[in-house]
Symmetry: C2
Subunit: 254 residues, 2 copies
């Protein structure tokens, strides 16, 4: 399963990829780009539910989502799992495996998805020769850190509607940047996944969707979402509390 899909040739060169501007090659010149191209494998597409890698798998490669979407999850002590991220095209996976040599998180496809495989050792040494590539890797890792930080923000002491609203806005924004509509889209993950990601029970997610719908903020029919009032959604995400008139309080004061 980890073996066996090597030998697949790069079918789409980086320069011809629609993700060219968000992905690894940013800033890399044509000549060096072909060097990068040579080390990248394109694996057969993953079907919904299929694993890209599992918790504990030996770390060999990083992956970039090319199409579809992938979720990553961390195992909890007691056997439960916490979803750590939903990954859209252009996002790098597996960075958290570098330090220990095996994958601390698992990754599975939310829908049919294709990914590029980038053998880490090769990438790393290429990073020594190509400054633009090295810089981009650092930027991408940093971006990943940022994303987890905003996830932390979501999970720490916020109401259910703040969480869901912020989640939907983040998703919409990421879709927009990839050329999709930010007001009408398809949720590739289940309510259960969303709840897990947001630290809420499935039922709470469902009820909150219903409430948003009653308030005219959006329409959520199964997995099809239409956002009608982005401003109201932003209000729900940001500062529900302020509507009561209270001053924002600064915590973490010391």
């Amino acid at each position: 399963m980890t073996q066996g899909n090597r030998g697949s040739q790069p079918r789409v060169a980086c320069r011809d990829c629609s993700l060219y501007q968000v992905c690894l090659p940013v800033g890399v010149e044509a000549e060096e780009l072909s060097e990068l191209d040579r080390i990248i494998h394109q694996r057969r597409p993953l079907r919904r539910g299929e694993h890209l890698f599992r918790v504990g798998d030996q770390f060999e490669s990083l992956y970039v989502v090319r199409s579809g979407s992938v979720k990553t999850y961390a195992p909890s002590v007691d056997g439960r799992e916490q979803i750590t991220g939903f990954h859209l095209p252009g996002e790098l996976l597996g960075l958290d495996a570098i330090s220990n040599g095996d994958h601390p998180c698992g990754a599975r496809a939310l829908e049919t998805a294709s990914v590029c495989e980038i053998p880490y050792e090769l990438l790393e040494s290429l990073g020594g020769r190509i400054p633009a590539l090295r810089q981009q890797i650092f930027r991408l890792m940093s971006r990943e850190l940022l994303q987890e930080e905003s996830h932390l923000l979501l999970l720490g002491r916020r109401g259910a509607d703040e969480r869901l609203a912020a989640y939907l806005m983040d998703l919409a924004e990421r879709l927009r940047r990839r050329g999709f509509s930010a007001t009408e889209f398809h949720l590739s993950m289940s309510r259960g996944d969303i709840g897990n990601y947001l630290g809420l029970a499935v039922e709470t997610v469902s009820r909150t969707f219903t409430r948003f719908q009653e308030e005219g903020i959006l329409t959520a029919e199964r997995k099809h979402v239409v956002i009608h009032d982005a401003a109201a959604l932003a209000r729900a995400a940001g500062n529900e509390a302020l509507e009561a008139g209270g001053h924002p309080t600064t915590l973490a004061g010391n």
Copy 2:
């Protein structure tokens, strides 16, 4: 404030630093180590409460804690703050600023703390010439990612005692690795900070400490903590739920 403490000479060379084995130089040979040494500044120690950098500050350097401890916090939309991490000696700060060029989080000292300042541009280009250094930077960034993931795990759907217990165990382990006692230590952060970090109210943190104490798991007198029953603490952290006899359930199934 951002200016003005340059010109400070490196007083302690990396090779003479007690953190030599956890820090950046891991794997770097003597000759190259002196190159690294040359770009590192040692700033005057920070006093308790003093900022190392603030949210929005322009990104210039990474920092490594040399002694004491530092907390980082992310601003929330509504003016509140979420503490994203407590950093002990040997831990790298500011990595999340690489991608955007300014600091998304602020950092302030929890107690008197000294840090090394590493100008990023210089480090980055040094990374091109010194493979071992480059690899170590990647490993450290990856480790940071890991740490945030375990923080996520804590914040997602867990009871107050699970959170606090897991937090104390993590802290104890990190102290142990740095040569301190894992069973008796000083909490440099306030109850409020702990609560903020764990997504709990101050009062809940306090009450949970009291309960642990009543159960004989530990003694917490103000900031002085002694762990009496590490096994019980681990049980509280991991799988309180299992004591009811239930099987661990696998979520995030699809």
